[in-house]
């Protein structure tokens, strides 16, 4: 298995939005979901996860409420808001365009320049 990679600057917010877009999650759930869909190839600093969640909530992209976890404990669940959904879409498009451009640059050969 590959060594997990550290996250690129500024991508954590997008990943959180994506994770909660698939269904309401508590903080630990966000962590697990990102690891699961990245097949353990991405590593999130647990300490930076919560400030990011609070920031996203303050900005109105996600919203939270207290609920019951799988193991019958009180946990705070985060859900994507309508504004968050739009934000995720634009962020994803921006990321894809950026990735294409970067990939294009990196693929270029001496002949093309």
């Amino acid at each position: 298995m590959d060594q997990p990679m550290e996250l690129l600057q500024g991508t954590l917010d997008m990943l959180i939005l994506k994770a909660v877009s698939l269904g309401p999650l508590h903080g630990y759930g966000v962590l697990l979901r990102v690891q699961q869909i990245s097949k353990d190839r991405l590593e999130i600093q647990q300490g930076s996860l919560y400030p990011a969640l609070y920031r996203l909530e303050h900005q109105g992209w996600i919203t939270s409420e207290w609920g019951e976890s799988e193991n019958k404990r009180r946990a705070k669940y985060y859900r994507l808001t309508a504004a968050g959904k739009r934000k995720l879409q634009t962020e994803a498009e921006k990321w894809n365009r950026m990735a294409d451009v970067i990939a294009g640059i990196l693929r270029s050969t001496p002949e093309e320049v």
Binding site: H26, G27, Y28, L31, Q45, Q46, G47, S48, Y50, P51, A52, Y54, R55, E57, H58, Q59, G60, T63, W66, S69, N71, R73, R74, A75, K76, T81, A83
Partner: protein, 877 residues
């Protein structure tokens, strides 16, 4: 970020820091425990799993701190921070803070005091259940010779009561009557009200003890019942719990007490209520106030429409014309406050000006300080503080100052209200008992303080931060000055304008008051004492009985030591009432609409009052019932009826169709007197000797006047003894004529004093303001002055430079203020006596006063500039 989420986030933060902290703890604990459980499931021992989970998570405290930051500083927290910082800044400049706080305390305190009175007198509800549903029904137009009283004639009242659909109940009552209460302590004249039996239930206030009036009470033979006010019951009857069923004597008649009203109930200003049955009398049609309670769901507009229809169809009474009727549905409170409202609103307007001036002054102070803080603002904005945050910081400071000023203002208002109630003319301001600093007043002051803080803080705040952010750090401190000076000049000019308006108003009122005081009433009021009596019909049934009483009293009064002359008149000038009417002229025609006062007087009345006899003779004791009828006319009667002829020997009659013995021969002429008030016209009068008047109605009310050689108050005891000697059952009302005159000028005097006080405060603030602006300009331009002087300018040039600047400001202020005064003083029209609201001498005097005092204020800083040493000035900074 949506506004809503921002708001929710703030709201949550505002709900309590601790709850958020608890939630954050719970959330992080859940994370670590869930993580540890997962580890435990993969075989790690439980203790070890928890430990590993913590380590993996990293610094929990640091994460929490970042979470707090991410959530943003809550509004409440940052406001607390702003206030704390503001407080620190204010403490650092105690002089500045003190001046600002005192200025605002003056402005806010004066406004709070006036509002307390306005609130109590005009705004607070009448103390009845659902008082807002109570209205007066009125068909009388205003503009008569007396203060306007809403009312309905008895005839119209009976018809209206039959037809009316809008009111649950309508009740008719009298206002301003008095009666003699005897047999309960000293005899006393007390205010009473005669009310129809629906009165108490229309007000939905029943006696606390006993009962109200029953239907049919008030009819003759059935009307000897009475309801007492709680206060009278306590003062005069020692709160006798057995009083129901007992009889008391009012105007000499026995009446059975049937009820005691709850404490505080005294509408319409009475201590005793007696039943009234409305009957139509051939000769008299009374017009009295009528109160009604609207049915649920009926609006005042509907009632108004109903009353208008009624007025349209109700046949007119004898001698009545359509324009004698004006249908009006008026809030009940207006019965008491309609006449005082204009002057209270005038005070409220004037005092608002004082606050505006105070605001301008403090704004100037803040601007001056903002210039000094340009550097601080520049640093903070460079370090990342947002523009809005800096504005908020400065607004927090200004609001803090105004809140402290407001708190001090409440204290000032507490004394102010006491002073106002003490100075207010006795009996002229109704509902004074409602005046107190209550929750509404406190809310008003709080609101006013916050608004004030924002108003005077906004401009300096935007100025300071705007420049602070734009200028580079080094320049900030110096370059802001020019811009500020413009705004400060605008503030000063408007301040002067406002002050000029107030001063002009006060000047006009003062001139009017002095004119009023200088009015010759037609008699000489000094060294005269008066004693007024209302002899009750029940004891004094015939004219001869009353005359005997009068003659005995006059005899005894004239024997008192130091009495020069004593006389009697039934309606004293400047007193409570008068008899006015028509008459017939022998062989001539009375001009249309010419009516005269008809006083009955004793022989030596004119001497006692100091009214000079212009022609003929005075009345004597021999002008009695058996002698031929005589009369003395006032000058204007003689001039009007017999221009260019000798009035002596002419004959007139008070009867509409005089029989031979009804003719009165004119034997003398006296001056006209001011009967109704100094501000009113002198009135024509025809005097009759009281010994020749037969109607008890003209004799039972009598005022005895005594002219003395010693201070008039000294004979009061003697007068009292005389009355007790003649009839110990009569209440005593003794007053000096000077004080009666003063009563009639008490209201304008109060208005003048109050307006003058406001105007002087405004003037003082303005002078401080203009001084401040100029002193600041001089201080800021010290360097420039130094350069100019080094280049050869004379100190006179410098003085001229600053005085020119001051003159520009003053001229603009005077021009604007003069225009404003010209537009606004017309609201004073109805308060002014023989002075036009645009009185040129007053305008000129006031403007000159303001110019001179402003120039004096400017001279000090300008002189300082002149004396500046170029070397010192150049080294400045």
């Amino acid at each position: 970020m949506t506004l809503w989420s921002r708001f929710r986030s703030w709201l949550r933060a505002a709900m309590g820091r601790s709850r958020m902290e608890r939630e954050m703890d719970a959330e992080l604990r859940f994370h670590i425990e869930a993580f540890a459980e997962d580890l435990a499931r993969s075989g790690v021992p439980r203790e070890e799993a928890l430990r590993r989970a913590r380590i993996e998570f990293g610094g929990i405290e640091r994460a929490k701190e970042k979470c707090r930051e991410a959530r943003g500083l809550s509004l409440v927290e940052s406001i607390v921070q702003d206030l704390r910082f503001g407080l620190r800044m204010l403490r650092k400049n105690p002089g500045f803070t003190a001046v600002a706080v005192i200025t605002l305390a003056l402005g806010i305190g004066a406004n709070t005091a006036v509002f307390t009175v306005v609130n109590g007198v005009l705004l607070r509800a009448m103390p009845f259940p659902e008082a807002e549903r109570l209205f007066l029904v009125s068909l009388t137009p205003g503009g008569g010779p007396f203060e306007w009283q809403p009312g309905v004639s008895d005839r119209d009242y009976l018809a209206f009561r039959e037809q009316d659909q809008a009111f649950e109940q309508v009740a008719c009552f009298t206002k301003g009557s008095t009666a003699n209460l005897t047999g309960a302590g000293d005899p006393a004249q007390i205010p009473v009200a005669y009310v129809t039996t629906e009165f108490f239930s229309a007000l939905r206030t029943n006696p606390e003890i006993g009962r109200g009036f029953l239907t049919g009470e008030g009819e003759p033979g059935n009307d000897s019942v009475v309801v007492l006010s709680n206060e009278l019951w306590k003062d005069r009857f020692a709160a006798d719990s057995e009083i129901l069923g007992k009889t008391i004597r009012i105007d000499g008649l026995s009446r059975t007490v049937i009820g005691i009203m709850p404490p505080g109930f005294e509408f319409p200003g009475a201590k005793v209520w007696m039943p009234l049955a409305i009957r139509i009398n051939e000769h008299n049609s009374f017009t009295r106030p009528v109160v009604g309670r609207l049915k649920p769901g009926v609006s005042p507009q509907q009632a108004q429409a109903e009353l208008e229809t009624f007025a349209e169809h109700q046949p007119l009474g004898p001698g009545e014309s359509k324009k004698d009727r004006m249908a009006q549905i008026i809030p009940l409170k207006d019965l008491l406050v309609a006449n005082i409202r204009p002057s209270l609103l005038m005070f409220a307007g004037a005092v608002a000006f004082v606050l505006l001036i105070a605001c301008a002054n403090v704004a100037n102070l803040f601007l001056a300080r903002a210039a000094g803080r340009g550097q601080e603002m520049a640093v903070r904005s460079t370090l990342g503080a947002s523009h809005w945050r800096l504005v908020r910081q400065l607004l927090a400071e200004s609001t803090l100052v105004s809140l402290i000023g407001g708190a001090a203002g409440i204290l000032l208002a507490h004394w102010g209200v006491q002073a106002l109630t003490a100075l207010a003319p006795a009996g002229k301001v109704p509902r004074m008992e409602m005046v107190r600093i209550d929750g509404w007043v406190l809310a008003f002051t709080l609101g006013l303080s916050v608004v004030t803080g924002v108003v005077f803080g906004l401009v300096p705040a935007f100025q300071a931060t705007g420049y602070g952010a734009r200028r580079s750090l080094g320049q900030a401190a110096r370059t802001v000055i020019g811009g500020h000076e413009g705004i400060r000049s605008v503030l000063t000019v408007s301040e002067m304008g406002l002050a000029l308006i107030l001063l002009t108003g006060a000047g006009l009122m003062l001139k009017s008051f002095l004119r009023l005081r200088a009015v010759n009433p037609g008699f000489s009021p000094h060294s005269v004492m008066t004693m007024t009596l209302d002899l009750p019909e029940s004891t004094y049934t015939s004219a001869s009985q009353i005359r005997t009483f009068h003659r005995r009293t006059l005899e005894e009064l004239s024997r008192l030591p130091a009495v020069l002359a004593s006389g009697a008149v039934n309606w004293i000038p400047l007193g409570q009432g008068l008899v006015m009417g028509t008459f017939q002229v022998e062989g001539g025609q009375r001009p249309r609409g010419f009516m005269v006062d008809k006083p009955c007087v004793s022989p030596s009345y004119f001497r006692a009052m100091g009214m000079p006899l212009l022609r003929g003779r005075e009345f004597t004791e021999s002008d009695n019932a058996t002698a031929p009828g005589v009369a003395i006319v006032s000058q204007s009667v003689a001039r009007t009826l017999w221009p260019g002829q000798d009035p002596l020997g002419k004959r007139i009659s008070m009867e509409d169709e005089p029989k031979p013995e009804d003719w009165l021969t004119v034997v003398g002429v006296v001056d006209d007197v001011k009967q109704q008030g100094l501000a009113k016209n002198s009135e024509p009068a025809i005097y009759q000797p009281y010994l020749q008047v037969a109607s008890t109605g003209f004799l039972s009310h009598m005022t005895f006047v005594v002219r003395t050689g010693s201070p008039p108050e000294r004979v009061a005891a003697g007068m009292r003894a005389v009355l007790r000697n003649v009839d110990k059952n009569q209440p005593i009302a003794i007053a000096s004529m000077d004080s009666l005159v003063a009563t009639t000028t008490a209201e304008p005097q109060f208005q003048t004093r109050l307006l003058a006080t406001f105007a002087l405060v405004a003037l003082a603030l303005t002078i401080v303001g203009i001084y401040g602006v100029l002193a600041y300009a001089v201080a800021q331009r010290t360097r420039e002055i130094g350069v100019r002087m080094a280049l050869g300018a004379q100190s006179a040039d410098v003085l001229q430079m600053f005085l020119r600047k001051a003159l520009v400001l003053i001229t603009m202020g005077i021009t604007l203020g003069g225009a404003g005064a010209f537009a606004l003083t017309r609201v004073l029209m109805k308060f002014l006596f023989e002075v036009k609201p645009t009185d040129v001498p007053t305008f000129a005097t006031v403007a000159l006063t303001l110019v001179l005092s402003s120039l004096a204020a400017c001279y000090v800083p300008a002189r300082r500039a002149m004396k500046a040493d170029p070397m010192v000035a150049l080294r400045y900074e």
